[in-house]
Amino acid sequence: MAEPVPEPMTDPMTEAVTPAIEVQGLTMRFGGVAAVRDLSFCAAPGEILGLLGANGAGKTTTIHILLGLMTPAQGTVRLLGLDLATRRRDILPRINFSSAYISMPPNLTVWENMSTFALLYGVPERKKKIARLLEFMEIGDTQRALTGALSSGQTTRLNLCKALLNDPDILFLDEPTASLDPDIAAKVRAGLLAVRAERAMTILYTSHNMLEVEALCDSVIFLHQGRAVARGTPEEIKARADNQSLEDVFISIARGGDIFQRAAPGAMPNEACP
């Protein structure tokens, strides 16, 4: 994957780097229940941002809003400097998504599925690209296999191959390593870090594996009942929580909400973009 590193987008007036992801005041309700409340955050180009929280905290809802699958009740989303509400068609070729809860038609072979998506994304030299990605994820020998015959670990890696097919500028990953064994999960993490290093790809990442989050994420946001209750690097978060492990912080937040109100009053719960 030796592609040139793209220049980060800059505002010509201020020379400031445009955030890859810019979310302001996002609110989403299902019926009368708010799943996401007044959420604001940014991710810089090349940043790996972890979106953490217990089940039902609002992680998947936030990602689905950022993918344009849901229209938020309030708030704005800008991806790669473009407004998602009005420029989704321009944004979609430059982003991608993988998750443990989506898959591809099981009665098609791996090659047929990948080829379909390569055509949808207009990937040049698709045969080479598909072969390279499958090798990269160590499933190169599955090209002729039916997708439905793959193991869950192979399926997860195939979904990641699909997600990397268009060399996305932003990659949304919702618990992508949930069904992988520790060896393959480590290889996937190493692969994602390698891709990020090559192309400054921004990754928004959700996971319940805090060791993985520490290994991968530059910064994290903890969500509780749809609100951002903490943000920082994993080290900053742990330091603010009296050097608890990230797992302990996760559990404390899941059970008690904003633990930083006590630990460090005023520490950034819901930060707007600079």
Partner: protein
């Protein structure tokens, strides 16, 4: 043993109690069957069906066009839900009109294959030649394709709105139209109120036109005109309803929930 059987029966009752489509299905198919074959019998009793065998076979072949066209949209998109691939498609550069157009093209190919096959069989087995309908057959075919696609869009709108509980509509909606489309019998067999509904459907004019051609060898241009003209509002309504429902389910967050079911 009785306790375990009762437990399952109770479970089936729970399932039906919360699912209108399941309850409707109990009545839907018998009622539709009764309507179609009841009117067919009434038509034969009145002696209004001198070429009844030809009308039946011709009706059956052309009905396949409407049915397949509707299925091409509603079934192929719903299948993407079943295999959990719909999110992959919705976040790709593929637009909704492109997805629908691809489904229509595939549907056209399948419709041609199935109608060609049964037409040949009808000729070999029963000596019925659908080509006797002449050039107007192409227009009949086209009208039914367009109407099938319009109904397919409406069906998909309902499935997006009500989720997997409404999937039975994929197969049910065409048969809802069958009795009032006068597929196998003349429209004047129907009671007046059903005739009023019937006159709003392009399919009615196609099947009336087919019988006219088979009986006289002459195509009725008036019937063809109405079949074509009525397709325009049906396609417009299908497209608008589908678009409105899609926006609404996106706003309410139902779309992605259905995609993850």
């Amino acid at each position: 043993m009785i306790r375990r059987v009762l437990a399952l029966v109770l479970r089936y009752v729970y399932l039906h109690r919360r699912s209108l489509p399941r309850i409707m299905e109990i009545l839907f198919w018998p009622v539709m069957g009764l309507l179609v074959w009841g009117f067919m019998a009434a038509s034969m009793e009145r002696g209004q069906a001198p070429g009844a065998a030809g009308y039946l076979i011709g009706g059956l072949i052309l009905w396949e066009v409407l049915y397949r066209a509707q299925q091409s949209i509603s079934y192929s998109i719903t299948e993407e839900f079943w295999v959990r691939n719909i999110i992959n498609l919705f976040i790709s550069p593929l637009t909704m009109p492109e997805l629908i157009l691809a489904s229509c093209l595939m549907g056209l190919a399948k419709t041609l294959a199935s109608t060609l096959s049964i037409s040949v069989l009808a000729w070999v087995l029963y000596g019925f030649d659908i080509l006797a309908a002449g050039p107007s057959l192409v227009l009949f075919y086209g009208c039914l394709l367009l109407f099938g696609w319009a109904v397919g869009l409406l069906t998909m709108g309902l499935i997006f709105r009500y989720g997997r509980a409404a999937e039975a509509l994929i197969w049910g909606v065409p048969f809802l139209l069958q009795p009032v489309s006068a597929v196998f019998y003349p429209v004047d067999v129907l009671p007046a109120w059903m005739q009023a509904i019937s006159r709003c459907l392009p399919s009615t004019y196609v099947f009336e036109g087919m019988r006219q051609v088979l009986a006289t060898g002459q195509a009725d241009t008036g019937l063809l005109f109405w079949a074509l003209a009525l397709n325009l509002p049906w396609l417009a309504v299908g497209g608008v309803v589908f678009g409105l429902v899609l926006n609404r389910v996106r706003r309410e967050g139902r779309l992605s929930r259905q995609m993850m079911e």
